[in-house]
Amino acid sequence: MGLEIILLFKYVPNTTTVNVDPNTGTLIREGVPSVVNPHDLVAAEFALRLKEKYGGRIRAMIMAPPSATKGIEYLVGMGVDEGILLTDRAYGGADTLATSYVISQAIKKVVDHYDLIVAGQETLDSSTAHIGAQVSSWLGIPYVYYVTEAELQDGHMILTRQLETYVEKYRVKLPALISVLMHTLQPRDVTLKNKMKAVTQKPVKVYTNNELQLNTLCTGLKGSPTIVAKTEFIGKIPRKMQVIQGKTPEEMVSWLISKLKEEKVI
């Protein structure tokens, strides 16, 4: 039998290294390639371990332009089984509400059966952490976030949720949606075998609104009540490089603390 898992992910511009013009201090966005949202790689690793333990299948789902197929190929390269791409001009310009609407309706319409939906904690580019919560409410299923461990027990899932100073345990009915605490696991590497499958078999199902038949008043820009009033670039903060002084770790730590105090950081 095994677990039927839907992995939600986003394909985002790689801004882990922020490109700043050294002369003017402005952001450079030209030709920035996209990557699978790093926190979603952690979610993928989480799902892959569940599959290894309990068997089943993982399908990676994304609402995005067709270029996100590359992201699906990467995840299949890691060991995910298939991809589902939801793409349509009518879905463009969506805020989190319209995005979660499309995702949840697609799950209802094209996914015959699922036990668990796994999402990342948040994205690199907008980091609202809305999608998980919203999808679960559209679907009316339990939602637990900051999850670090999951175990199957008589048809239920025992989830460990890591908060700043304590740990919570939940027992939830399936199907459920979880979002995985960032940095919980180290994502595995792409393997030749899996990447070969991704490239030669292209296990990706594409759905446009022709198939999904959603009300386009609820999707894309039209379905998005959020208005971004203004975005402001926070100017460049000049960096100071100093090499930590001290012979022993203790000396280094006290040197660092005194410097941070000097800079009024702590």
């Binding site: 390639p33 990467y74 390269g77 590497d189 792409v190 393997t191 030749l192 075998k193 990447k195 070969m196």
Partner: protein, 432 residues
Amino acid sequence: MEGMNILDQKFDVAIVGAGPAGLSAAYYLAKKGFKTAVLERGREVGSKSIYGGRIYAAPLKEIYPNFNSIPVHRWVKRERISIMPDYESMISIDYQGKEAISFTAYLTEVVKWMGIQAESAGATIITDVPVTNFYKENNKVSGVVSGEDVLRSDVVIDAEGVNRLVLEASGIVKPLKPELVALGVKEVLKGESKQIEDAFGLSQNEGLAWVFLGAATANTPGGAFLYTNRDSVSLGVVVLLDKAIANVKDHVSQLVESLRTAPALKNYLQNLRISEYSAHLIPEDVWSLRPERLVYDGLLITGDAAGLLLNAGYTYRGVDFAAYSGYLAGKAIEQAHAKGDYSAGSLSSYESMLEESIVIKELKRFRKVHEVMKNGLLFEKYPKIMSGVMKRMFENSDGPSKAWDAINESCKENQYSMLKLLIDGYRMVRSL
């Protein structure tokens, strides 16, 4: 092999590395109906590609019938060689040609284009996977290994470039030594195309290739270069690694920084912004770097990995030579396939085709340049002598001196005999 995952899918040809060599081989073979897989460690085809800035067109035209769609930036119509005694002055030789035979481009874009050609011809390109070794059956290379996975193929082309981790792992070559390679460090400086044209006095689509010797490399054997792209300039420095270990006292990035900020180049590089900083090794002593053979049972070695790069002193020809060697490797495989024999003996037509091709012919013709480069004079003594000559000629408050006197005096000042200088000059001209 134990603990290995052998993939069900088998290919006719597996190629290590999606650079100019690997992709040109893939394009040819796929077109001829071979089931071809290219394995590339980068995220995308071209994402690990970096070079100086200009490519010679003829070999690529022969390989690619639709060469016309290659992403050219500018056709090189102007060549300039400058000797920089210091960062403030330079002595330049300008050449303006009618027919352009080379063009400037980003290698990232050219390689991506080659990838599209190969894929359209039917090749399978697998990115994100570094090959770690060859897979052998009965001592014949019969596929490639990546981690624990094995992809089997009838024959393998090694096109992994200068850092030959796979050839090393398989014991075919020894680790690189500093005297065999040079380090190239480069900045791409962006602006508007009009700005580039105005600053360098170029018309639309017209490009300049500019080489610097002397101070620009901290008097280390190597060279510095400037190529004009459509809306940017590629500016870089190349230093022979063994000499750089002793000569480069400051940080190597300082060399490019100094060139960018050199008073002598100020007027050219104003208001451009850095958009990429890159570095790569270059085969330098190509004859010592070359593996003992370029064919083994089930294996052919191409491009930089085979040391098939020409350093003509004022220019590198690596991209077109790599591509051409890949193309010839493809032909050799086609012939070997017809015989049903992928042994080294059967594949050795690759070596003989190379020998008769422009690649080895040019490499032999320029063999002596390397000797001249290595003796270091070109980079240390000559710029000083030349600058002394020029100073005497143009900055003499008593009026200009005669060129002959100026050379004589400058030689004395730099403790170098004029006879020696003449002999060097003769040798150099002969070697070119």
